[in-house]
Each structure stands twice: as C-alpha cells, then as structure tokens.
C-alpha cells in the first residue's frame, strides 16, 4: 500500500515532477493541498473498496504516507 500511495502521489498529484519519501510532510510542506489530500482519500477508498469517514481525514492521519498507512492499518480492516 505504501508504494501505491507514493506512486499515486508522485504521478497523479505531482505529475511525476518530484519524488517523495514516506516520511515527507505532504500538507504542511505545501507539497499537496487539502484538495490533493481529498483526491488521495478518493484513491484509497477506491483501491481498498472502503469508506473513510470525514472525521478521520485529519492532519494526524494524513500528514505523510507513513501516517496514512498506519491509520489504514489500525482503522481499516481490509488492509
């Protein structure tokens, strides 16, 4: 999943112009914005056939790829 997320962010959100690491701050650094995060949520939902409740879409959970993965691990059983 981690790799999938990195790939999606790089190719879809960053247009292959930039590579990122799993630790890299996404939102705070301004790398992607809240709409980008929303698209990321859409991407995850589609891939995992799950629904992420709006209240879970927080900086803590979606700050970087690592936090996203650990959020998904703990909250979404299907991973």
């Amino acid at each position: 999943m981690k790799q999938k997320l990195v790939t999606f962010i790089q190719s879809e959100l960053l247009n292959d112009q930039q590579s990122i690491t799993a630790e890299e701050d996404l939102l705070i650094s301004g790398l992607i914005d809240s709409i980008g995060v929303m698209r990321l949520v859409g991407f995850i939902e589609k891939n995992l056939e799950t629904t992420i409740p709006p209240k879970d879409v927080t900086l803590e959970n979606f700050g970087n790829v690592n936090t996203i993965v650990s959020y998904l691990d703990s909250e979404i059983a299907t991973i």
Binding site: N15, L31, S34, G36, M38, G42, V57
Partner: protein, 1438 residues
C-alpha cells in the same frame, strides 16, 4: 444586448473532440461566443503601487513573463466554428504606459481609463490580455492588468503578479544582466493542456447522485430570470476584522475544523450561504456550483493558465436544521465531491447547470517588488447569463478582513434589492458566527431599518390616526340600516321572486321579531338562525341584532350532524327557524321561534324600547372548519362588522358617506343573495346593500344544484355587484354578459388566478371591476384587497394587494421577524378589525390571537396563510402553511401548474388536487392488536375498547365451530391411502417441500405413514443454500425421491406478480402449483400434499362469514376450493403465459389430482415442531436468510408490498399464527417490523427487471392530479409531454382526469372530496375507450367499474388488462347476481370484454345454459361479502 443568439454552433462534445482547448477553456470560449459584445470574462485587476517605479524595469519584467509563459503568448484561431489555441513566438501592443501625473484630476482620469479598459472586449485572435501602467504621481503607479478568463484564473493572476514582481526585483538589483535565472522556470500550460486532452478519467462521474442534479434553478427571492442578458453588478462589503477573526476562530473549533483552515472556512460560509438560499427560495434541495482551483500539485500551482473547475455542491436543507446540523451536511457534501474531483473531471453540466455560485478565493497578493501594493479585483459589470448570483469571498491583500461580494444579474434583482440581499446574507453569516446552534428558520434576515420599512408598507392602522374616527367606522350595521330606513322608507330592501319588501317594512318586521326575542325569559345573547335564503331570514338576522344579540347562521343545506354539532358547541338555547327546519334541531335548542310568517302575528306586540348596540357587543358567530375537523366558532363584534361594511360599501359601491340621498333606492348597489349563510363571504351581500340603501335579490336554495344559482343571477341581470368565489366565476365561462348591469365582481374565499380574472373580463367586458378580496373569517370577511389590472397583473395569481383601512398586515418568519421582499412569510393581521376570539375556546384563541409586537396592547391574528411581496410591492397569496406541497423538496406552485395545464388548447379549466397517501400511510406508527398483534394499518381492521382487533373478536365467536373443519393424523393416513387406490404409478403422493420447518415436519410425518412419497421443491432462484442443504439432507435421511424443479421464466413471473399483486409469493406459488400438477400428472401421482398452515386456512377459507351460514359444512368449503382452483389456474398472467397450461384446459385434471393440506390433519406447536426436527431430522435453521423464510426474494416482496399497499403482506397471516398459538406476539411483531435493506431490494428488483423507479421515487411523496374540463379527453401521455416542456418534472401531475364540471361545496369552493380518485383511473391501454351502448353493456360496465374500482371501462377493454383477477371476477359475479344477471366466474375468462360478455349473457341460450350450470354447481360464496370473496380467491395463496 443587441446581438442575435448564435444558434448554429457545434455541439459541445463535438467541439471538445475537434478543438485543442481544455473543456474549461471551451466553456469560457463558448460563453464568450454566445455573448460576443459582453466583457463578461474579463478578469481585470488594479494594483496600486506606492513607490517610484522604474517603468523600464517593469516593462522588462512583464516581457520576461510573456517570453517564458506559453499561455501569455497564446491566441485563438477559429476555423469552422472550432477554436484552436496557438502559441505565437512574440506578441505586440500588449503594454501601454499612460502618464497622468500632470493632471490635477489624475485620479478621476485613471478611474475612467480603467473602467473603459475593464469593459473592453479582448480580441483573442491577437492577444489574450490588456496591460497598462498608469502614472499618477512620482510614487504612485497603477498597474492595470486584464486577462481573458479563457487563459487565466485568479491563481494564475496571482502567479503573474508574483512573477512580474520578482523579475522586477531582479531587474532593479542586477543591472548587469537581464537574464532572470531564478524566475525563468515557468512550467508551460501546453503540457497540462495536452495531458488533459488525452486523459480518460477513470471515474468520469464525480457527482454521487446524478438524478438529484437539479434542473430547477434556485429562485432568488422568487424571481425567475431565464434571460440571456449578461448585465450585472457587484455589491460588496467587508466582513470586518472582528467578524473575520470570529470566523477563523470558529473554523478552528474541533466540530468545524477540517484538514485545512481554508476548507473549514469554506464549509462554514457555504453553510450560511445554503441557509440563506433556503430562506429566500423556500427550496430544500439546493445545488450550487463552487469553483476549485484544481492545481493539485506544485507544478500546476506554478503554471499560468486556466485551471479552475466548478464542482457542484448539493445539499438537502431541512427547515428544522440548525447551523450545526446543516454544517454537517455541507461538509459531508464537500468531502464527497472533493474526493472525486480531479483534473478533466469537470462536468460541463456542473458549470452550466447552476445559477448560483460560491467562490472562495484564497489567493493573496503581497507587495510589488520593494513597494507596498493594494490589489483590487474589478468587476466587469457582466455575468454568465446562466448565473443569477455569485458569492465571492476573498482577502486579496491579506489584511485579515474578508470581503464579501454579491455579483448579481441585473435582471434578477435590481441594485437596491441586491444590496439588501447581500445584507441579508451577512445577517445570516453573523447569526452563524454568534450562535451556531441557532435554527436557520429563525434567523432574522432584515435589519431593523429594513424591517420597519417593510412593515410600514403594509400598515394602514396606527393608534393615533384612527381612534378619532372610531365612532364612524364602528357604527353598527343596524344603525346604518335605520339610517337608510329614515331616508328611503319605501325603497325596496329585499326582493324574493314575486315578493318584495321595503326598508320600512323590513324595519318594522324585524322590530316585531326583536320584541318577541326580548320577551323570552332570559333572552339569550346568542341566537341560532336556521332558514333558507328568504325575506324571513333577513328579518331574523336584523331582529337578532336589534334584540342586542349575536346570530349564529345555520345553513339548512348542511347535514344534520354538522348543524347539531354547531348548536351543541355554541350552547344555542334559542333558535329562529323556518318550520321545516324545526325537527332538525328542536332536541338541542330549548326554545324555537317559528319565522315562517313574519307578516302576521306580532303587530299588536308591546313596543318596548330596543337596546342600544355597542361596538363591543357580539354581532355573529360563524363556524369554520378547523384543520382538526372540529368546527370552531369565530366571534365577531358589532364594531368590527360595522367597520368592514363601511369599508366595503365605500370600496365596492363608491358610497362615500351617509349623506341624505333621494328617497329612491340607491343606484348601483343591488346585490344578489345566493350563497350559503353559513359562509362569511355571504355577509357582504346582506349588510353592504342594507347599510347604503341598495336592494338584495334573493335566490333561494336550489337543493339539487346550488352551484347553478350564480348562473341564474347573471341571467336575471337585476344586480350590480356580485360577491363570489373563483369556482362560481368559472361556472360562467363562455357566457357573454357584456351588456350586464353588473359593474363589480368581488372574488373571495379561494386563490384567484389571473387567467380567471382574464376570463371575467371576457365574460363581462373590459369595463367590469374585478376585486380580489382576501381575509379569514377571523378578520371579518375581508381585510386585504387588490383590484385586478389587466395587462399589469401577469403573475399566476391575482395579488391580494394591500390592507384595508384599519388593517395592518405583517409578513413574518417563524421567529416573528419581518421577512424581506420576495421571501415567503406567514400573514399576521393586526389593526382594529379582528374577531374577539373563538367561542368557548380560550386556548385556541390565545394560540391564534397573539400580542401584536408592533402595536402595544393590541392583538394580531396568526392566519396560517403564506404570502410574499411581489415586484410591484403587493402581497401574493401562496396557500396554507399547513398544506404546503413540496415534491422532492421543491415547493410546488399549484396555480402555476394549473395555468400550464389550461394553456393546452383542448383544455378549458383545470383544478389541481393532491393525493395524500394518508389512507395508506406507511409512515405513521401503527398500533397493534393487544392479542394477535395485527397492525392498525391493515385494511379494514378495527379495535374494541380492550384493544382487541375485529379478527380476534370474530374468531372468539366461531373458534369452537371451526374445530369441526379439522381432522386427525390417523384420518389423514386413511384418507391418503384411500386416495391412492387403485395404485396408478410408483408414488402414492407428492409432497411440496419448501425446506422450511413446516413442510419438513409434514414430510417426516407422511413418510411415517408407510406411503411412497415423492417430494418436489421449486427452485425459484432465490432459495437459500442453507435451505437447499436441509432439503438434500432430509430426503436422503428419509430415502425418498426428490426433485428440484424450476423454470427459466421465474424472474418474469416475479416481476409480473409484483405488478399485479405487489407480492412475489403469488406468482411463485402459482408456479409451484402449476409445475406440481404437471409433474404429478406425468408421474401419475394422485395426491399433492401441501404445507399450508392453519393460520392460512383461517385467513382464507374459514372466515367469519362461513360460520354465519345456517349450517357449517366443511364439504362445501372443499367444493369451493376446487372451484377456486379452476379459476385460479385459468387467470391469464405470466405463469399461464410461460408454463405449459395444456392440462388445465379441461376440468378433468382437478378430479385426477387431489390436494391435501397436511395441517388440516395435524395440530402441532412450533416448539414441538422444532423439538421433533432437532431429534429426528438432519434439519438446521438456515442462517443465510431473513428470519423464518427460506427465500431470499421474500424481503423484496415485503418491501414492495409495504411501499405500494402501505401494510405488511404477512400482517394477517402472522396474526393468525399468533391467534392459533403457533407464534409469539412479540416475535411476530419484531419480525414484521424488521428493517429491510432498500439497496438489496433495489438490486434484486433490477435482477428480475422490475421497474422500481416509481416505487422508490414515490415514497412518501404526495402525488398531484390534474382534473380538467374541456372539449375532449386528452391522453395522459400527450399531456405529460406537453407539460414537461413547460414545467419542471416535479411539477408535472401524476394523473390527469377529464371531468364534465367541477363539483362545488356548499360554500361554493371546489369540492375536493367529490372529485374522483385517479388512482382508480382506467389504465392506459392500446385499446381506444369505446363506451357502452346497449343496456346490458351499460349495466355490465357499471358493475365492472365498481368491482375494478376504476372510473371508465370501454366495451373492448380486456378484463385482465384492466387489472382483473379472480377476486374481481367473483365480485363481478356477485354484483351481477344482485342486478339479476346470472354469471359464472368462468364466463369472465371465456368472454373477456364487456361486449363479448354482454352478448353471452344476452343470448337466451347462453343464459339458460349458464343458469343451469350455476344451479348444478352452487357457488354458495356468492352471498358473502367482498372480504370473503377476496379470501376465497387467495385461498391458494400461502
């Protein structure tokens, strides 16, 4: 705008393929192409730079940006109507330097220049922007930059600004080189554009529910725009630093915070905006467009070009919402949309489909180079023609003070109202900020100043102006009458056909009667008057007043119960009545004075002095139907009545004062008295003429056709003023009365449409004065008035205009705040002309007559009527608050629909009815029988005081008798053995095995009887795997032969069964029986054993009626069951169409194969059954189905049945299980109230190809029916498509019914209850409707209509096409029998049309033959009522 619209443009998708522009660009280009002279896409900015700018460096900086950005060098070339973007290597004439510093009026000149340039059309074939630097002083420059939206958006402009600023810094700091190394890396739009062009979005439908994508634009303040004019204006205000800080603070609170502050702010402001839009439109389903910058990554953020896309935000607002609950919906919707938003996903419809836009701009412009800079976004004074309103929210300078702009299309709201509108929105936003828990319906939209202004417009009463003249206004009607008696004693006061009495005679007679009243012991203050319209009636009414009492008019045309109810409620002791009414109320009223012969009898009475009448004395009490159904008496005082009469006389008869006039009758003041005296509208026609010297012409009650007396009135042509209802007026349609005496029509009582007002002008000629008088009984007949102005009043309804003298009208929201113009509010009536309250109803009185918040110490009446102020600042009536019709959240304007229907050339009049599903209301919580748990929503159920249902009560009476129907297991064994002799094939009997506990238990019992059993199961495609496993295990355990049978047509049968019976079981069981009989025949099995439960037997066969027969004969029931089987298998439906029915052609099969119901012979409790199965059988409870079923489609059948019929199809069967002790009441109720997964239902319905659109859409919605009169019946399809081109889909009625005329109530309003229920309409058939001609045909038609519950049957219509089935067939047989026509059910299947059937019964032979066969097989159930018959035909149903 002068240009012609361009019509021959290619379609959008065609353009999209042929052009190299992105979709967003194309949309902008197209919008410009359609409005070539409008600068609507100019994005003009003004940057005020405070510093001694180096013009050369500035110029260099700009050139650099142009050089490095492909967008800046892009032009459009249009070939074959298709635009192509081309990048040129260099552009010219893009920059102008204007030095105004020498002018004293430099600022003004600058503003003018900027305004000129902002409105200038940019020629995209040359350059896509305009750039100027204006020098105003040595250290004040204005940079004007205006770029076409096709190539830019606000983020792009921010980027250009930053680029120019950075490059400028580089230029002024390093003189050496013009190269701009750090700023040169500008990504090119070209790469994005190409990528976007060839991108195939993998999720092309970001809108989660396209069906709710509303085509209905939001009507701002109920103004439609619809025009293509682009002229617009911007009104703006600063939110202020304090409120901006509050907003940010709120956005950071946990309950409102999201991923980013911007998004949280967006959600909060959008919440306020939705609340505002709801308040000013009344719409509950709101959709707006919201631009997103769509620059998802750093690369795009740094690209100059157009990226924004509009995403739709759709929110369902509930009037009960608080800001908090609405915010939850808004943020959920935003979340949903943003998740799926991605580049190239912009919906063309999304951009164009919304007339309201909310644009939150987060771009900020810093200083320019080293200098402070102020940024302003200039409005181009135009707007996309499809947009009525754009809310823009931004803080371009980053001051921490948000600016709110309303860009408003000029045609929608003028600038003054636009200003108010922005103010209203700001008020909503402020309310949100100060109290997020507030209900949105209570937010005050108007400020105090505007509220006062609005109030004053509808005030004609204030304490000071009026009290001085009070005496004149409040003079009693009797005194006004006496005044006329004095001046014209001999003038005719009342004419009743050949009888006529003068003013002095009327005065005398009423004096006499008044004395008689006063001579009663304890003469009451409240006197009932019950008399037909007559001279005596008028004498009586006046005499009551003269006696110092109030009258209660009792129209003899009302039913006894209503009159008695009124008399009892009012405690009437004394009644004045015609002797023919005496018997009706004598029991209730202790004293009755006969008024038949007023001329005689009391001439010699002692002439006492009659009492003085005070304005505070009660004058009359009129009973109106309350919404509760209980009539309530409205008490009106003398002063208020006098006040109304005075105003009405001046208004309608131009009688200014009470000056002495010649002793003749006053001209032009004659009224007809033709309407019910129980209706306060009629009082105008009595007291206005008598108070000014006019004459009343009486039209007596015409009991049979009261409606038509209005026609007689106009034909006689003896009156000048007519007070009437719109329904009365429409009866005159088509008449030519242009030479009539009538000069004034006063319409009241119902909504008065403009088209009817136009009719009035046609009927009476253009000279007629037509008044629309509004007023509830509580405000004395009429309190608002509008005189219809042809050509000016063009809305659907004639306005109700302005308040009468002495009346104040307040239009208030639910928190009693005045509502702004165009916003719906409830009419509150204040002033001096109000009822004193409801008779003997202090609670209701204080509820409706509440303290007037605007006039201290006065009351105002809360009408429950809704209205709003129209463009001409008149009030428009919108209907009752409690009967507002909303369909899918959109408020429906009945009058508008009615007008659209009437515009059809073949239709002359129309009345819209609302079918409320109250009789089949699934939403009310039912109550349940205390014993069996049968729900109160089951048809025909009633309960006794102990809460026992009628079925339980009945059952208790025949429980013992019924025992005679049942047998024992040994009897079953011998019966089966007997039936299987002589042995025909391998098997003795066939068991229908569903796999459930009942049939499995039965199978085990039968196998124990030493019979050779064959078991059969229908696999209908939805049998659970658990059940199948049970079946396999059981038959293996028993060692018997078993077969799963099926048919390929199961889904079609299910779908058909749902259509016909709202049940899947009906078709399934018919399939089982049909296949079983075929199979048994093939295998030569003589007996089929069913697992029909005892409850089902009681439900269908052993009904109360059976036991009411003189003798209970089980065998006759058996015979009837066999007869019913014959009918059942021959009813044509999908089963008979798809399965082999050849065996059923002859009755022989019913002798060859017998049915035996196992549980007729066995009584076993559920517990014992489970225990047995547990011990003896390898049977386990299936876990993959709903509770007690093996069938996965069962829930679907239940869901459909509940939706369509309003009750559970297992309600009665389960009640029988409970009644017989086979099921626990609580368990049954729990199971019946299980929630069914609607999504799963939808899936299954799709699997079986059942169209559930109507079902899911129709849930909980009222349906509209259009009743119409006209030249001819128009087909529903034609009408629907006609209306669809004129009305939003939600406003197209579901039903259309052609009627000869509209039935009227006794009060002259259209009688909704007397209109036919269109759910009973003849279905749409290919067959043309040919009416019956012969007597037989006519009689049969009536019987069919009655039994089929439809209003029309053509003689060639097929019985089954009309929805006929065995139930109906038997009902028809019964009804025909009652009319002396002998029929058998089979005849209906042989002769399936009225014509054929009439011929069959008409031919003597046939009748004889039928008579004979009817005698041979007595159909004893023919004497039963419908329920039994229904049960009979379902007696094969499980």
């Amino acid at each position: 705008m002068s240009q012609q619209p361009i019509t021959n443009l290619p379609r959008f998708d065609d353009l999209a393929t042929r052009s190299n522009l992105t979709n967003s660009q194309l949309l902008v280009w197209l919008g410009q192409r359609l409005n070539p002279d409008s600068p609507l896409y100019n994005m003009a900015m003004r940057f005020d730079i405070d510093g001694a700018l180096d013009v050369k460096a500035f110029r260099e900086a700009i050139s650099g940006v142009i050089k490095d950005s492909d967008t800046m060098r892009s032009v459009l070339e249009v070939t074959d109507q298709v635009p192509q973007q081309r990048i040129v290597s260099s552009i010219y004439d893009y920059f102008e330097f204007i030095d105004l510093s020498g002018f004293s009026d430099a600022d003004q000149r600058c503003d003018d220049e900027i305004e000129r340039r902002t409105g200038r059309i940019i020629d995209l074939s040359k350059v896509n922007f305009d750039c100027a630097l204006i020098k105003l002083g040595t250290s004040h420059y204005v940079w004007f930059f205006n770029q076409h939206h096709c190539f830019t958006d606000i983020a792009s402009i921010e980027l250009i600004f930053r680029q120019v600023s950075n490059r400028y810094l580089v230029h002024i700091s390093s003189e050496s080189s013009a190269s701009t190394s750090d700023a040169a890396v500008l990504p090119q739009f070209e790469s994005y554009r190409t990528a976007e062009k060839f991108k195939h979005p993998d999720n092309p439908a970001p809108i989660e529910d396209s069906s709710t994508n509303p085509s209905t634009p939001i009507e701002l303040y109920h103004n439609k725009s619809g025009s293509r004019d682009t002229r617009a204006y911007r009104v703006q205000t600063q939110l202020g630093e304090v409120l901006t800080r509050q907003l940010y603070a709120l956005a950071r609170r946990p309950e409102f915070s999201t991923l980013s502050l911007d998004l949280s702010v967006f959600n909060l402001v959008a919440t306020a905006f939705f609340a505002y839009l709801h308040r000013i439109s009344d719409d509950e389903e709101l959709a707006i467009g919201c631009p997103v910058h769509n620059r998802g990554n750093i690369n795009l953020k740094n690209t100059i070009g157009l990226f924004i896309e509009v995403f739709p935000l759709h929110v369902s607002v509930d009037p009960e919402d608080t800001f908090v609950t609405l915010h939850d919906k808004v943020s959920a919707a935003t979340f949903q949309h943003l998740k799926s938003a991605s580049a190239a996903n912009s919906e063309v419809d999304a951009v164009r489909g919304y007339n309201v836009i909310f644009n939150y701009i987060t771009a900020q412009f810093a200083d320019f180079g080293p200098y402070p800079c102020r940024t302003d976004w200039l409005h181009n004074n135009h707007i996309d023609p499809q947009h009525d309103l754009r809310l823009q929210l931004f803080d371009l300078c980053g001051d921490g003070d948000l600016r709110l702009c309303f860009d408003v299309k000029r045609e929608t709201l003028d600038e003054m109202r636009g200003n108010d509108a922005l103010f209203h929105f700001v008020n909503v936003l402020k309310s949100l900020l100060s109290d997020p828990g507030q209900h949105i319906s209570t937010v005050k939209l108007t400020g105090d100043t505007e509220g006062q202004k609005l109030l004053h417009r509808f005030w004609s009463y204030s304490q000071s102006t009026v009290e001085s003249e009070h005496a004149l206004y409040s003079e009693s009607v009797v005194n006004r009458f006496r005044h006329q008696v004095k001046h014209r004693p001999d003038a005719p006061a009342v004419i009743d056909q050949d009888r006529s009495i003068s003013y002095s005679e009327l005065d005398h007679l009423s004096n006499m009667l008044a004395y008689r009243i006063l001579n009663q012991v304890d003469a009451p203050k409240l006197i009932g008057v019950c008399a037909a319209r007559s001279i005596e009636l008028l004498v009586a009414l006046i005499s009551v007043h003269k006696a110092g009492a109030a009258f209660i008019p009792l129209d003899p045309a009302n039913p006894d119960t209503r009159l008695q109810q009124i008399c009892t409620n009012a405690g009437i002791k004394l009644l004045l009545c015609h002797s023919d009414q005496n018997h009706r109320l004598a029991d209730i009223c202790s004293t009755v004075i006969n008024i038949d012969h007023t001329e005689h009898g009391f001439a010699s009475q002692q002439l006492d002095v009659l009492p003085e009448i005070s304005p505070e004395d009660d004058a009359y009490v009129i009973f109106t139907s309350g919404s509760t159904g209980e009539p309530k008496g409205v008490v009106i005082q003398q002063g208020a009545l006098g006040d109304y009469v005075h105003w009405a006389a001046r208004t309608y008869c131009n009688v200014k004062g009470q000056v002495a006039e010649p002793p003749a009758s006053r001209q032009g003041c004659d009224f007809p008295l033709y309407s019910s005296i129980g209706f306060d509208l009629t009082l105008t026609s009595i007291f206005v003429p008598l108070s000014i010297g006019g004459c009343i012409r009486i039209y007596p009650d015409d009991r049979s056709a009261m409606d038509l007396s209005i026609i007689k009135v106009v034909q006689d042509d003896t009156v000048d003023v007519i007070k009437l209802t719109p329904a009365h007026l429409s009866l005159l349609t088509g008449m030519n009365l242009t030479t009539s005496r009538v000069h004034t029509l006063i319409l009241g009582g119902e909504d008065f449409t403009t088209s009817l007002a136009q009719q009035a002008q046609r009927i009476f000629g253009s000279g007629i004065r037509v008044f629309n008088e509004y007023g509830p009984t509580e405000a004395v007949v009429g309190c608002m008035l509008h005189q219809y102005v042809p050509g000016e009043d063009n809305d659907v309804s004639v306005p109700i205009g302005h308040p009468a003298e002495g009346v104040n009208i307040y239009l208030l929201d639910s928190a009693s705040n005045p509502v702004p113009e165009g916003v719906t509010g409830e009419i509150h009536i204040g002033g001096r002309r109000l009822a004193s309250g409801y008779l003997r109803q202090p609670g209701m009185t204080s509820d409706r007559f509440i303290p007037d918040p605007f006039l201290p110490d006065r009351k105002m009446y809360r009408t429950g009527d809704l209205a709003r102020v129209n463009r001409n600042r008149q009030l428009v009536y919108l209907g009752r608050k409690d009967s507002q019709l909303k369909i899918r959240g959109v408020r429906i304007e009945i009058a508008e629909i009615s007008r659209a229907v009437k515009s059809h050339p073949l239709i002359s009049d129309c009345h819209i009815g609302i079918l409320q599903d109250t009789d089949r209301d699934t939403f009310q919580t039912p109550h349940y029988c205390a014993s069996c748990g049968l729900a109160s929503n089951y048809p025909g159920v009633s309960f006794d005081d102990a809460g026992l249902c009628n079925h339980c009560q009945d059952f208790n009476s025949y429980r013992n008798l019924a025992a005679g129907y049942f047998r024992s297991l040994p009897e079953l064994q011998s019966h089966l053995v007997e039936l299987s002799k002589p042995k025909r094939g391998r098997y003795d009997c066939m068991m229908l095995l569903s796999g459930g506990k009942d049939s499995t238990y039965a199978l085990y019992q039968i196998c124990a009887m030493d019979l050779n059993v064959f078991a059969m199961t229908l696999d209908n495609g939805y049998i659970s795997e658990g059940a199948k496993a049970n079946i396999r295990r059981s038959v293996a355990d028993l060692g018997i032969d078993h077969e799963f049978v099926t048919t390929d047509f199961m889904n079609e049968i299910f779908s058909d069964s749902l259509n016909r019976h709202s049940s899947v079981c009906y078709g399934c069981f018919k399939t089982i029986y049909t296949l079983a009989i075929n199979h048994a025949h093939k295998l030569d099995i003589p007996v089929i054993v069913t697992g029909l439960s005892r409850g089902q037997m009681f439900e269908t066969r052993l009904t109360r009626q059976v036991f009411e027969q003189s003798e209970f004969d089980p065998e006759s029931i058996d015979r009837e069951v066999i007869e019913a089987r014959k009918v059942y298998h021959r009813i044509p439906d999908k089963v008979t169409e798809c399965l082999d029915m050849s065996l059923f052609a002859s009755d022989d099969i019913f002798n060859e194969i017998q049915f035996v119901d196992f549980y007729r012979y066995c009584d076993v409790s559920m517990g014992a059954m489970y225990a047995f199965l547990e011990q003896h059988a390898p049977w386990t409870r299936p876990e993959d189905t709903g509770r007690s079923t093996n069938c996965l489609i069962n829930d679907t059948g239940i869901f459909v049945h509940k939706q369509k019929m309003g009750y559970h199809n297992y309600a009665l069967p389960y009640s029988w299980d409970v009644r017989l002790g086979h099921k626990q009441r609580t368990a049954a109720l729990e199971e019946l109230n299980d929630q069914i997964d609607a999504n799963r239902v939808h899936e299954i319905l799709q699997e079986i190809s059942y169209d559930d659109g109507d079902l899911l859409q129709g849930r909980g919605h009222n349906k509209m029916v259009a009743y119409y009169t006209g030249n001819a019946l128009v087909s529903t399809e034609v009408l629907k498509s006609y209306l669809r081109s004129r009305l939003p889909e939600a406003m197209v009625p579901s039903y259309f019914v052609f009627v000869d005329s509209f039935p009227l109530t006794v009060n002259g309003k259209v009688d909704h209850n007397a209109l036919p229920d269109p759910r009973n309409e003849r279905p749409k058939l290919d067959q043309v409707m040919i009416p019956a001609t012969t007597e037989n045909e006519k009689m049969l038609t009536r019987i069919w209509c009655d039994a089929l519950r439809i209003n029309q049957v053509g003689i060639h219509d097929n019985f089954f096409d009309l929805g006929g089935d065995s139930i109906v067939a038997i009902q028809i047989v019964v009804r025909a029998g009652q009319k002396g026509i002998s029929l058998r059910p089979n005849q209906l299947f042989l002769h399936q049309t009225i014509q054929q059937l009439a011929l069959a019964v008409g031919s003597k032979d046939s009748t004889d033959e039928q008579q004979q066969s009817a005698d041979q097989t007595p159909f004893s159930l023919l004497n039963h009522d419908e329920d039994t018959l229904k049960n009979l035909s379902s007696l094969l149903d499980p």
